[in-house]
Amino acid sequence: MTWRSPLALVREALRGQRAREKDLRNLASNLPYEGLEKGKQPNRYFPGNAIKTTKYTLLLFIPMNLFEQFHRLANIYFVGLAILNFVPVVNAFQPEVALIPICVILCLTALKDAWEDFRRYQSDRKLNNTPCLIYSRKEKQFVERRWKDVRVGDFVRVVCNEIVPADLLLLHTSDPSGVCHIETSNLDGETNLKLRRTMSGLCISHPVFEPESFNSVVVCEKPNNNLNHFKCYAEKPDKEKVGAGIESLLLRGCTVRNTDHAVGFVVYAGHETKSMLNNNGPRYKRSKLERKLNINVFFCVILLFTMCLIGALGHFLWLQALPVVPPFLVPDSNGHLDSPSLSGFYMFFTMIILLQVLIPISLYVSIELVKIGQIFFITNDIDLYDEDTDSRVQCKALNITEDLGQIEYIFSDKTGTLTENKMVFRRCSIMGTEYPHKENAIRLAVLEEPESEEDIIFDHVPQPPNTRWSLDTEDTNPEDTQHHHGSWRKSKVAGTAQSNVAFSSPLETEVIPDRKLLQQISRAESSSSSSQKIDPYLDFFLALAICNTVVVSMATAQRQRTSESLHSRQTNNPLNTLSNLVKKPGSLHRIFTFWQRKPKRNRTISEDSVTEGDDFNPPVKTEEPGDINGLQTCSLYAPSQCNMPATTSDNLSYEAESPDEAALVYAAKAYGFTLLARTHDSVTVRLPSGEDLVFEVLDTLTFDPIRKRMSILVRHPITKKFVLYTKGADYAIMELLGTPYAEHLSGSQKNIAADTQHHLDCYAKEGLRTLCFTKKIVSDKMYESWLVNRRRALAAIDNREELVMDTAVQLETNLSLLGATGIEDRLQESVPDTIVALREAGIQVWVLTGDKPETAVNIGYACRLLEDEDLVINMSCKNKLTCTSILDCTLEEVRRYSEDPRNVDTTQDISLVIDGRTLTMALSSDLQDRFVDLAKRCRSVLCCRVTPLQKSRVVKVVREKLKVMTLAVGDGANDVNMIQAADIGIGISGQEGMQAVMASDFAISRFRHLKKLLLVHGHWCYTRLANMIIYFFYKNVAYVNLLFWYQFFCGFSGTAMIDYWLMIFFNLFFTSVPPIMFGIMDNDVSAEMLLGVPELYRMGQGAGAYKFSTFWVSMLDAFYQSLVCFFIPYLAYQDSDIDVFTFGTPLNTISLFTILLHLSIEIKAWTVIHWVIILGSVVLYFIVTLAYSGLCITCNPPSNPYWILQSQMADPMFYLICILTTVVALLPRYIFHVLRNSIAPSPLAQARHLDRLDPSTKSELIKEWRSFRGGGQVKRSRLSTPPSPTLETPVDIHLQSPISSDVMGDEFILNVITENYQRPLHT
């Protein structure tokens, strides 16, 4: 490198700084500058792609780590003490020795940090050295380099299943239409494929891509961490600007799928990539217990100071009382003695040194270790493991495990949290006619049954005969249903193993068509001429199949994981080897047929079908021998007309961003409208007739939460008309309807909209998710004019989103309603059971959902958040005045109700249902208190139609006003706010990506895991840690006080009668492991018991096991024990010739026994590990002390431990004193425990008692107990039928509670149905 003046270097650095800080960056291709020195490179200011996530460097590790560690207050205290040791007047014996504990602690922490950092370093190095392909001008091709060599401005080629090394602006893909699929699971955990498009027209890409032709300047924004947002434009030499957004950006860490290769221009590299910017380490939260603990540490400091003050004062008085200088009083080297007051003053500091252990020095380290252990056990719990997703519970926040045991309020999201977020197509309404899909309902019920007996089937299938679809029941052959049962069960097993394919369990993928509707379609097919497919029924299904962003992926092009497992299995299975050799499904099918000598149809090559497939029978076969079967057969062997490599309708799998979309596509497929392929600009759909239609996609107006709808603009291949299909929430669609579509079709169906709305309401009451489908024919002229706007909006760099949205709104007008669908989001397994258990545990459960009140209420009943006998208060009002009055009156009523003597014994079960708008008013500062007061009295609260921000606000208000421990659980991005606002945020890794999980403290995969996580692990972690901390305080006080008492017999001179090293070892080795083990492993009550009797959880709520009284009682006990431990040996050795350290040895031994046996009283369950550690500690004490006393002849003056323990152990008095003292010291605590357990056993003690019984009596007694304590609980645990409002009789939910009308007064019962028509305000 050439020499450059420092000034130039500074100028260069400044320029670089400026270039990096600029809002817009100009990036040019590196290729013209290839081989030039660094100073000439255009992109030299931007960091390279090498990453470094390590905190420390090898050289600076020690200073940096020390600096980091001294940020902790506790460590500063200890260092302060260490320094105090070196102050001469303090007269510490060996200042160096005092450094040992702090050094050990610092070293331990440093080791931990170093190890973590080394792991980071290793992973960094691995990443940085990953090979990738960079274009080189010299070699005119892509050459292999390492990730760290990638620079901004390079051209990088990524091949299929490879990970993108940096943020790339997509320029070219192997796909002719210029799309590329990526999987972002490394980034956000979303497993569905996402579509990325090339930024076209920037370089010559025909026939091969030429990076050297790239001569534009890419202008992009400053790096930010928003994964879903990117703005840039490319300026060509002719000043033409081409805009691009996130849809053209390949993010670092993503995997390219379904695309042979892709080439991109590096815009951000290394630490500036979005994934790295998103990578901010673990979160630090302080638990409630830790906050309390700090108060107790403060008390200990006060105690320490008091004791030191007593020592100082005592020393002063003692000196004062001496008439002359006795021979044992040593003057300083000048023969001068300090005045008593000055000596007393110095003595204060000497005492601090002597008694410093009173502040538990190793407590913080121990707590950390304990939490690591607790987390180990939580994450290893097999009950919290989900086989479907192969995921364990994750603990992201490492230091709030014990908060899990103190939760008082749970705020839960509904979709994906309480429910599966696995959407199942249930019913639809087309042109005002309802198609109930009864057979499908039966199938779902059958699927549900074997899963869990207690689970409530959402929509009870054997419906009472007055429902509509029951009329057809006799038509179904019971044997057929039986058959379904069997086959479905098997295919379900297959489906679980196939879970790596998004949204494709058989539950979701298979829909049994409604017979009436099938007939209707076939009629429509035959009636409408083949050239004109404009029947509304066909349109409806076309909309279902097209209007989405579902990506079709072939089973052969599955994820890496599948292919890997496929690969590994290949070796031991000749059958599979064969199947892998054969690529064509058709031939594969033939091979199987041949091999198994059984006629099989619809064979898929997915692994699970291969292994499980013997009994796989498509349900359609037996159900409808005519229609559907024919359709399927024909589609199976129909020649492929699109450019996909192989297509049969069965090995298609759909990758959808939202499960609703997948469900709809599968529903359409069941009716023969099979989505075959989707590219950037075309959609191929196979019609029931077997004909493939290729729609040209002109534009997709993507979903956004403001519009609450999405549209797709296609050109019909036959009519060549521009058709806009829109789907969306009913209220987002209904107001955009133009003239009813059917009006010119048939005069009898005048009011489709009203009928459909009615159906929608009923769907909602059933708890179904509703979507409306519309169609609009766009005239050519209108399209042209719109296109101009659209292009302008897309090219804009400022306000782009808004402009794009505006254009979408422009087009989505005058829609014609086609119909509506009802999609069921099934309750997750054991949700009602979990909610009931949580509630019995004294936790209030709130559900916050964006759904409509009707849907929410229905789910509320289904998951037993609401009970039949509950009093449901429905709050929904439009202005604040009514809101205020309603709130006041309700509160008044509720208060009166609870204060009424007649209601004293009855449990008041009041539930509150409140909608988003009312919630906003209720949470305003003036009504907040009243609302919280009301909510506090309610057993459960249901907030509907709430926004993410409102969710977090509710959590915050409850948390702050009621001063309670809150937990928020959710699965989606909309729950992130709430998760972060609560004391504990729990993310459910579900179908909706990982944002919630990323923001959470704990991540679980099923809602039901919450039960064990809280009731068992929460309880355990809390009691363990609380007991451990209290024990720690006790231990230190009990030990240190021995020294304190001795001061009364040595003129308060700060003498220790125990060898200094042994004192340090005592805390560091002999008594440190047992409490840590206690904190990790103590099982006060078995998991079974805790789950069986959720009330036990209440022990932890509020102050729980860690009360100030508990703390002070144990402090008093510590004082008592130390008194006993000191004075019994004192009295025993009085007037003897015992020397200082011979006197100290039994004291030390007694302390050890007392402290360990004290722990033994507290340990509730003794496992092998407990025995080993407790006995090991004792053995270690004797071995170490004996060895030390045997080897140390003149070391460590003045103690001279030589042969002291040995001589003591040869003296029977030693044992007699040890036994007596230990017994006397522990007797009170022991008797206290015994008497408490006998006279007034706590529920925990009772549970412990039950634990000892044999399993059968135990479960019987648990039941008995619950019925005895819980009162109504047993009655509730029967399978309660959720009220199922039928279409004919829309029932007001309040009719379920007979008292409601008396108590509440009519004005508060706001009819749900009337509320339906209220439109949300969208501006």
Partner: protein, 343 residues
């Protein structure tokens, strides 16, 4: 089907181990502290303690103890004249008598009260290396000895430090008065210190004669003779391994202590001190009155439990009876509040 199972296993890489340890299901012993269960424990402990207590008490009772204060505070005391700080080389004589045989071996202690050998800076003030015979430390003692490190002429004190300096220097001679004549009771000064002190920890420098090792050093300030003249008659009891010195150097734990002076094991007195009159001749050197200390001599015989101490026996008896009482209380509690399931 086996294949399927294998496949499932491979796929579930994250599945936690289903072991008793990770699932926290290790077989555990759950002691239940309730009245019914602990009664036998209390009874056993109570009875055992009472047994030990009785044994201890009886043993303690059998130990004979004779204490004689010779501080000379009272004017009637024969040592009153010696308590004057200005009196030099004062001798005083104490007489006492025993009615019965004082069973041997009789241990002869001297005792000090209100003397804080455990005082912090006092305890530090010695040089273990010097005392283990390291000649380097003769020249330059450890600074822990300050201010008893060097004398005014900057000559090192050997042995240095406050502990050595304050060596107890009263000496005793015991006579039995047989028919008016004094018969010397032989006192055995061997083996009164710890074996390890005498044989391992404290060493004279390997210089003969011992005196030469002390060249260039001075005797401690309060000492009347240098260390190498502590017992000129017996080289095995001279210098740093002088037994009296060793006894003194082992600092007492409590301000009221006694230290072993001699044992009476020889000659006519091997069986103990016969009943009769005795005279104790005391060379009164050590000043204690200035700090209100007391000096005494103690004759005692020892048992397996050491010297006379009634406390431990009584404590065992009390705690043992308490346990028995508690077991009765527990029985009542048990009868009243037993678990309903315990029937």
């Amino acid at each position: 089907m086996g294949r399927t199972k294998k496949m499932v296993k491979e796929e579930l890489a994250n599945r936690p181990d289903n072991t008793a340890f990770t699932q926290q299901r290790l077989p555990a012993w759950q002691p239940m502290l309730s009245a019914g269960i602990v009664i036998p424990g209390f009874v056993i402990i109570g009875l055992a303690f009472i047994g030990i207590g009785v044994a201890l008490f009886v043993t303690s009772q059998s130990i004979q103890l004779l204490e004689l204060d010779y501080t000379g505070v009272e004017q009637t005391s024969p040592c009153f004249k010696c308590s004057d700080p200005n009196a030099k080389n004062c001798m005083c004589e104490l007489t006492f008598s025993t009615d019965t045989l004082f069973k041997g071996p009789v241990f002869f202690y001297y005792g000090l009260s209100n003397y804080f050998q455990n005082y912090r800076s006092y305890g530090v003030s010695k040089d273990d290396d010097q005392l283990s015979g390291n000649l380097d430390n003769f020249k330059s003692p450890s600074d822990t000895c300050a201010p008893y490190e060097y004398d005014r002429n900057n000559k090192p004190f050997v042995p240095c430090g406050a502990v050595a300096n304050s060596l107890f220097n009263d000496t005793f001679k015991l006579y039995q008065i047989v028919n008016g004549a004094k018969k010397v009771v032989p006192l055995d000064g061997k083996g009164i210190s710890w074996w390890t002190d005498y044989n391992i920890k404290y060493r004279n420098p390997a210089v003969t004669p011992l005196k030469n090792a002390f060249n260039g050093t001075v005797k401690p300030l309060y000492w009347s003779k240098p260390a190498y003249e502590l017992d000129p008659s017996d080289p095995a009891n001279n210098g740093f391994i002088n037994q009296d010195f060793l006894v003194w150097m082992r600092r007492a734990a409590l301000p009221d202590f006694r230290k072993l002076y001699r044992r009476i094991t020889d000659g006519d007195y091997a069986e103990g001190l016969p009943a009769g009159n005795y005279s104790l001749q005391i060379a009164y050197n050590y000043p204690v009155l200035s700090f209100e200390g007391r000096k005494k001599v103690v004759f005692s015989n020892v048992s397996w439990m050491g010297g006379k101490n009634e406390f431990l026996g009584i404590a065992y008896l009390v705690i043992g009876s308490l346990c028995v009482v508690m077991s009765v209380v527990m029985l009542i509690v048990y009868a009243k509040f037993k678990f309903p399931e315990e029937e």
